[in-house]
């Protein structure tokens, strides 16, 4: 398929579909992440990206037959490999032998969080999650370094004229969005702080928060959104998130425990675990939301600059 736009639409459908798989396999947290990241924000970011690159794929000069053959052979080998694997849900599977029983049996006493996924993600495997947050932060910094738009002085008259045209044309969309955005932000906070008890956590909450801001930016114009959300402020927040996460680890290190061992944070180990998980989820939420907004602002801001340049050239 050469039409990149159709490809994005179909990949959006694929995101929705794979989240349905995860739901039917009882993996609530994964489905949640897929819903917010796979179907939501990545579709949006890809859309913004193709507005800069053009809508159709370049005609390829070579025939990718060799690649197809390699893919088919690898795929069939992988499928052949699955024949040796234990059956789905089998109690003898290696994955159910080593650490999983410990997580399931002891996490309630050791961490005291009802959602085992959260206790694995944020407590047992906190160092991995720290790595993920740093990767996201690095991605945001990379986009900032490569695409950072030259900031023009804010043109108040331009904003006003845009607002005027919008009020006439997209009244319904704007009013509905105005009613929905506070609710979306509230729901993001619910997801953030309810992660201990149900599906959710910092990653999902950050993405939902960013999606609300992106909705605002799309309907009310980039310049208006920039007036609401200061770009340097949000860059600061991305760094604060990583810093918060790392400093929790350093505090437990200074108190004579391992890196990111939260039991030391409070006199009662369980309360310490709760506090630690809350803090690092907050850090994750800050970083993810800020980085998503940074990426979107830089992509869309660059597009606006391009359009302005074309307009000036044609005039």
């Amino acid at each position: 398929m050469k039409d990149l736009f159709a490809v994005i639409m179909l990949s959006g459908i694929y995101g929705l579909l794979s989240a349905s798989f995860f739901v039917s396999m009882d993996a609530v947290d994964v489905a949640f992440t897929e819903a917010s990241v796979g179907a939501g924000i990545s579709t949006l970011l890809m859309l913004v990206a193709i507005t800069m690159t053009g809508r159709t794929e370049n005609p390829s000069r070579h025939k990718p037959l060799l690649a197809l053959a390699v893919v088919i052979v690898t795929g069939s080998l992988l499928i052949y490999g699955t024949l040796d694997m234990p059956y789905f849900g089998s109690a003898q599977a290696p994955i159910h032998q080593h650490v999983a029983p410990r997580y399931i049996n002891d996490s309630m006493q050791e961490v005291g969080v009802p959602n085992i996924v959260t206790s694995v993600l944020a407590s047992y495997r906190a160092f991995d999650t720290f790595g993920e947050v740093v990767v996201i932060f690095t991605a945001g910094m990379g986009v900032l370094a490569l695409l950072s738009a030259v900031r023009r002085p804010r043109d108040v008259a331009e904003i006003d004229s845009f607002n005027k045209s919008m009020y006439e044309e997209h009244l319904i969309l704007r009013i509905v969005a105005k009613m929905l955005i506070p609710f979306i932000l509230l729901f993001a906070l619910y997801v953030q702080f309810h992660g201990d008890y149900g599906p959710g956590g910092g990653f999902q909450a950050g993405v939902i928060f960013a999606a609300a801001i992106i909705l605002y930016a799309m309907l009310f114009g980039m310049n208006t959104a920039r007036r609401v959300i200061n770009q340097s402020f949000i860059q600061l927040f991305a760094a604060i998130g990583v810093l918060l996460y790392g400093s929790v680890g350093v505090i437990s290190l200074l108190n004579g425990k391992n890196f990111l061992d939260y039991s030391i944070l409070s006199a009662d180990p369980i309360a310490g675990q709760h506090l630690g998980i809350l803090l690092i989820e907050l850090g994750v939420g800050f970083t993810v939301a800020s980085v998503m907004v940074i990426i979107f602002f830089n992509f869309a801001g660059r597009r606006n600059n391009q359009q302005n340049k074309e307009n000036n050239d044609s005039c």
Partner: protein, 91 residues
């Protein structure tokens, strides 16, 4: 009855995919994706009841929101832009 409703929604989802792949115009594809999204919301809430885990409803809420935001995003950043006319008038 819950399972019957789930199967009905699955059938409708397949129909939406067919239209999304066939879709002669861009708008047909967007319409198919939008329909697919709302049906996914229903499917997830039904599955929550079938499997007896109603906390799935959180995911359904996220879907409803994300679906709306994606449709607006698609309409904004595509050839089908609803903002096109105002641009042309400016020129």
């Amino acid at each position: 009855m819950l399972i019957a409703a789930t199967i009905a929604i699955l059938v409708v989802m397949i129909m939406a995919i067919v239209r999304g792949i066939m879709g002669p115009t861009l708008y047909d594809r967007i319409l198919a994706v939008n329909m697919f999204g709302t049906k996914t919301v229903l499917l997830i809430s039904l599955l929550g009841f079938v499997m007896g885990r109603p906390e799935f409803l959180d995911i359904a809420i996220v879907y409803a929101l994300i679906n709306f935001i994606s449709v607006i995003g698609v309409l904004h950043y595509s050839d089908a832009s609803i903002f096109k006319r105002s641009d042309q008038q400016k020129k």
